[in-house]
Symmetry: C2
Amino acid sequence: MNLAGGLPDPATYPAEELADIAARAVRDHGPEVLGYSRIDGLPALRDRLAARFSDAHVQLTRENVLVTTAGMQALDLVGKVLLEPSGRITAHSPTYLGAIDAWKPYRPQYRPFTPDGSEDYNQVFSGAQFVYTVPNFSNPSGRLVDVDQRRTMVEAAHLTGTWLVEDDPYGGLYYEGEPLPRLLSLSGERQGPVGNNPYRGPVIYTGTLSKEVAPGLRIGWVIAAPEMIAAMVMAKQGSDMCTSGLTQRIALMAMEAGLAERMQPRILALYRERRDALCQALSDHLAASFTWQKPQGGMFVWAVARDPDLDTDALMRVGLEEGVCITPSSVFDVTGRNHGAMRINFTFNSPERIVEGIKRLAKAVARLSSK
Amino acid sequence: MNLAGGLPDPATYPAEELADIAARAVRDHGPEVLGYSRIDGLPALRDRLAARFSDAHVQLTRENVLVTTAGMQALDLVGKVLLEPSGRITAHSPTYLGAIDAWKPYRPQYRPFTPDGSEDYNQVFSGAQFVYTVPNFSNPSGRLVDVDQRRTMVEAAHLTGTWLVEDDPYGGLYYEGEPLPRLLSLSGERQGPVGNNPYRGPVIYTGTLSKEVAPGLRIGWVIAAPEMIAAMVMAKQGSDMCTSGLTQRIALMAMEAGLAERMQPRILALYRERRDALCQALSDHLAASFTWQKPQGGMFVWAVARDPDLDTDALMRVGLEEGVCITPSSVFDVTGRNHGAMRINFTFNSPERIVEGIKRLAKAVARLSSK
């Protein structure tokens, strides 16, 4: 029972529609999709992304958009452009493992923070080469950053002149409630009237098709100030020259066909049911040893051990013997010192398998406690 | 008349066949091609590449192979794994611009060398973090490194324990003669009997589908010692997590269908004719001001000005006014000081357009000389 990964359910992938789109993409746009693409991406795809992320407060043009080889490359390029060796990153604690990986070559220092207003953001942000935040259902914590904290973070970024990386892979996975405004939008609002184009603020917004359509296309994007996009284009040239014209064209055609919007209700219903099954199973079998908050969206529940001596690295090992896999908190902590929590995924498995997995995990907890 | 780029002729892209393959790839392999791929690549594709590059002297297994997001990513990963800040790279002079770009973030020092035996390779290689060579029709020089020099380079890499990056995008573009042995193969020969698997030597071989099928798939590969592949896998995880499963599956199906082999005779005939047209046009119009060697393969002619005062940066600017674009030597020189040569591409344009381009270039030379 793999509850460790961060994978969508492959049953959601729209294979039939994408097969037709892929064939048409090559047949109708052969020279374009089979040749080198522009480094910054297919112009029509950049236009579409600019339109999609424009709203009453921020209006974007093609110059604000870079197409990336999925979300991970966006983080890699952020590091390439902004990080000096041993520079400082202010980041959510716990932090997404992939981001830690992407920036490892620069051996940065980390200044962890919790986006709950317990610290003065001006102080926390200043001196950082950038701030890294996942406001929607952060990986691994599942935390949703509230509107007030979003505003305060944006204000601090403007005041201190610090780049603010808003990583948003889960923004389309709200199971309840209206999506909260993006930091990008709040920053546009602070920048002033909509006429004041293009966006030139400190937010570097990154998104991906991986969660809303399919990871295999490897299509992501960065929305940022034109000068930041230009710098990232230079860095991307030395990373992979350009993103596949084929997968870009497929992504554009899928967007034009409204594929993600048609898939979304089914995906949300599926994942909502699984989240509920996981939280119910945790209540039934692990309430004595862990606490957690039911997340309003995303892919993960973050469960914290009640017993400060319970070590989730050890629990992972015993869990594997019981046939269940979770991710221990240590991997999301740049110091490696947080051993008291775990991340549990609920999107990949059926409710039945999730329940079975949690039962096995409860057995592992019992074995560990009796040692 | 763009004679500056390094582009295949889009007319060679097999759009009809790839459209069918793309549709079948998604329809028959939906969950695999639309989900996350393994970081190291599709196992069947790695097996196929291992078989393709095995020969009488080197036998490879899947563990020797990493699939990359085209050739450029392979160079990026070489830098990520091997380069310490301000470390030294020993590289062909002139050097491929894309490699210079890929390694720029590390601010390396360069030790240029000419692979003609004029220096002792042991001395040239030792102390370098790696050696970078393009033995087949080097970009930009078009030079083919002969077998003796290949052997001597391999020997020096083994003796000095220096990683030897063999970048081979043009290995399929021999217009005359039998392809010379790869450094990878010569290194396997030196390592000893074929039974001694897997390959563990110092050569890091990089290749791409961009020149033999189509650049838009963004599929490349690295063949190297398993421990080097393992290190590059770690680096790739933080670069783009994985290469698109869709384009990998398309590449595999194209290989299984023998697409590149069927395309090759037509591509070779097309480019041979264009190379000859370019060299004839140079003889007809520019023999008084430039010297060059007719390359036996690849995509470029490297032309060196007879007059040491002729500045090809200036020639590029005057050429643009005449409606022709070439690439001046300065961009291939890490010191930026070589102003006496130019790279001319012959694969992208028809013979008629090539001749017209060289006529315009001759006009530009005349204008420049009369200044």
